[in-house]
């Protein structure tokens, strides 16, 4: 062996490069200084220093969702690592490929309550796809390669590499060939041919089928296949929050989002269908509502790469374990063209009768801001959201037509996700328009990242729907707790315009409906970090809404 000796830190960085890492997000500290020392001279990895580790984690997540490549984040031991936890859990719930590197105390100090020690592999076990504590520098190259492989294949997810500082300083020779060794990891990509055939027969026989399309279609880049099947056999398509963009929402067959805040027509179609074709969707309780009233008369076909997602919540008649894209390609061949006139007409009538709506009274309604955002961007921006009403309005009133244009924390519902995720998305897609739709509560959970975005001169447009409340919680209090607004009023909000100006960015305030469009145009034209503080109707609600635990066709609002 003639390879030269390298330190653990060098081996790590070489491994990252070999895995195709171009951008890394993170924050330094004692136990990772040796790694940062290597990064100091590393030209091929762009390093984004955030102002909080949570911001770094969500930025890596947003980067991954916008680009499809795994995100990479690094933090120091102890508090650095624990600050990453929410971001890791968030990526886990939404199946986002991410590798998180955490510093750890020296190997011999592990377990001693050493300074800045935290049991990171213990803490992250239930929120990672896999995790490693590397105690031998000779394992490191393989571990890095495996981590990226695991994170980005099968059902993607976060992988943690916990790296004691002494391991990063030890030297070893890099083997000529680094090979992964994972006998226990073999995702299934090809659907079982007979099952696919049987699913096609069910589809061909169905009179009232619905395609229920989720985040798995975005992940496997199968929207084209969904489109071909839907249009060939005239099957209406509804997507989950995570599936937005997988099917063009302006297409007549689109029912847009289903579930708790889905459209009336999507929920009606699902309730009345005789065949539900679930593709890369996991029957989340926000989607199904009361389980025994969900698609009560339908047979269910379920295509998912994760066998444990199938029959977890609802009984599945035709399970197909495999990759959406591969399975749909195969399925398409067996599907017969069908006009399904009656069903398509019924669905069109529902769409006509129960459109999404909000009061047309000239006031500044948040829904209208989102509609204008769609208009001004031509539907061509990457929309990142925070959590709450702002998220639901962004889902309902923008019309998504392409995958990876809607980025939102679905499974964990993390307030504060949006802004750092928008930073990650813009870093990964520098030529795309990126807009963040946020609330005055959420934005303050990671507001410190204004410095990060400004420093990188990212032209993100922050659409702040400022209602002075923790709106989504207030809405529940209004509807189900007799308007007792217990601690949901955001008094003493900062002056957001001055605040962003303090960071060196551009701020605007809009409090009239007539000024919305102009302000948005100005913001996008400015090509610089801009926040627009939209002072919206304070007690606007998200409708329709299925009360928690109810059947999804029992919606409040939107049935006028």
């Amino acid at each position: 062996m003639s390879a030269k000796e390298m330190t653990g830190a060098q081996i790590l960085v070489e491994g990252l490069k070999a895995a195709g890492v171009e951008v890394m997000f993170g924050y330094p500290g004692g136990s990772v200084i040796p790694i940062f020392d290597v990064l100091y001279e590393e030209k091929s990895i762009k390093f984004v220093l955030t102002r909080h580790e949570q911001g770094a984690g969500h930025a890596a997540d947003g980067y991954a969702r916008a680009t499809g490549k795994p995100g990479c984040v690094i933090a120091t031991s102890g508090p650095g690592a624990t600050n990453l936890i929410t971001a890791i859990a968030n990526a886990y719930m939404d199946s986002v490929p991410m590798v998180a590197i955490t510093g750890q105390v020296k190997t011999m100090l592990i377990g001693n309550d050493a300074f800045q020690e935290a049991d990171v592999t213990g803490i992250t076990r239930p929120i990672t796809k896999h995790n490693y504590l590397v105690k031998d520098v000779n394992d490191l190259a393989r571990v890095v390669k495996e981590a990226f492989h695991i994170a980005s294949t099968g059902r993607p997810g976060p992988v943690v590499i916990d790296l004691p500082v002494d391991v990063t300083q030890q030297k070893t020779r890099l083997p000529k060939k680094v090979e992964i060794d994972l006998p226990g990891y073999k995702p299934t990509y090809e659907g079982h041919p007979q099952q696919v055939q049987r699913a096609a027969e069910l589809i061909n026989k169905a009179e009232r089928p619905v395609l229920y399309v989720g985040g798995g279609v975005i992940i496997s880049e199968a929207s084209e296949e969904v489109f071909e099947i839907a249009t060939k056999a005239h099957i209406p398509v509804t997507t989950t929050l995570m599936g937005l963009g997988a099917f063009p929402e302006e297409h007549p067959l689109s029912l847009q989002m289903l579930g708790m805040h889905g459209t009336v027509y999507a929920n009606y179609a699902v309730t009345n269908c005789d065949l539900l074709i679930a593709v890369g969707a996991r029957f989340d309780d926000r989607v199904t509502g009361k389980l025994d009233a969900f698609a009560p008369n339908a047979k269910v076909v379920h295509i998912d790469i994760d066998p444990s997602a199938i029959s977890k919540n609802v009984h599945v008649d035709m399970p197909i374990v495999g990759d959406c894209k591969k399975v749909l390609k195969e399925l398409k061949e067996h599907i017969k063209p069908n006009e399904r006139e009656a069903w398509v007409r019924t669905v069109a009538e529902w769409k006509e009768k129960y459109p999404l709506s909000y009061p047309q009274d000239g006031k500044l309604h948040p829904q209208m801001v989102v509609e204008k955002l769609h208009e001004v961007t031509g539907g061509d921006a990457i929309i990142v959201t925070d959590v709450g009403q702002n998220q639901m309005w962004a889902a309902q009133f923008y019309r998504y037509s392409k995958p990876r244009t809607f980025i939102s924390s679905g499974g964990l519902g993390t307030m504060g996700y949006g802004f750092p995720a928008a930073i990650g998305a813009q870093v990964g897609m520098p030529d795309r328009k990126v807009a963040l739709v946020s609330g005055d509560g959420s934005i303050q959970m990671n507001i410190q990242e204004l410095a990060t975005a400004h420093r990188l001169d990212l032209p993100i447009v922050i659409v702040l729907l400022n209602n002075g409340y923790l709106g989504m919680v207030r809405q529940w209090q209004e509807l189900f707790f007799a308007r007792r607004y217990s601690h949901t009023t955001l008094e003493a909000n900062p002056d957001f315009v001055k605040l962003v100006e303090a960071y060196g960015a551009k701020g605007m305030r809009v409090d009239r409906a007539g000024d919305v469009e102009q302000a948005l145009r100005e913001a996008f034209d400015a090509r610089t970090l801009t926040l627009i503080d939209f002072v919206v109707e304070p007690e606007a609600n998200v409708f329709p809404m299925v009360p928690s635990g109810e059947a999804i066709d029992r919606m409040i609002g939107g049935m006028a």
Partner: protein
Amino acid sequence: MRRQVLACRVENHSGVLTHITGLFASRGFNIDSLSVGETDNPRFSRVTIVCRGDERILEQIRKQLGKLIDVIKVINLSEMESVERELMLVRVNVGPSKRAEVMEIAEVFRAKVVDVGAKELMIEISGKRAKVDAFIDLMRPYGIKEMARTGEVALARGPKPSAAGG
């Protein structure tokens, strides 16, 4: 509620058991017993898990175990002909007057007396869980001082090894 015996072939390194027990804890699955031992290949260990739940839970347990990267294979032994055995050591309060009586019962169960004290006997018994349970019931009137059960280990019968081995 049904009982299910699973044999898993897993990587033999630290952290694997935490992944398995943590999975049961965080998803609220019930474990009756869990036993771990080496296989003929030192790289792998064999974990035998006895768990219970309704059909849906048992299926989730198998699928979730299968998802763990360090778990190479999960075999559902409840679905096949298999031999299940458990080992127990028990210390029973027995003075000289009852010694013969207890040793006779042990004999019937093919249990072995492994230690004799002035006021106690230590007995080793192995077999199916039901047999071990029955033996405990018979020992109870004498007074059980202490006992240790291994939890079941199991192997499939038949010509082919159940691949969870080594």
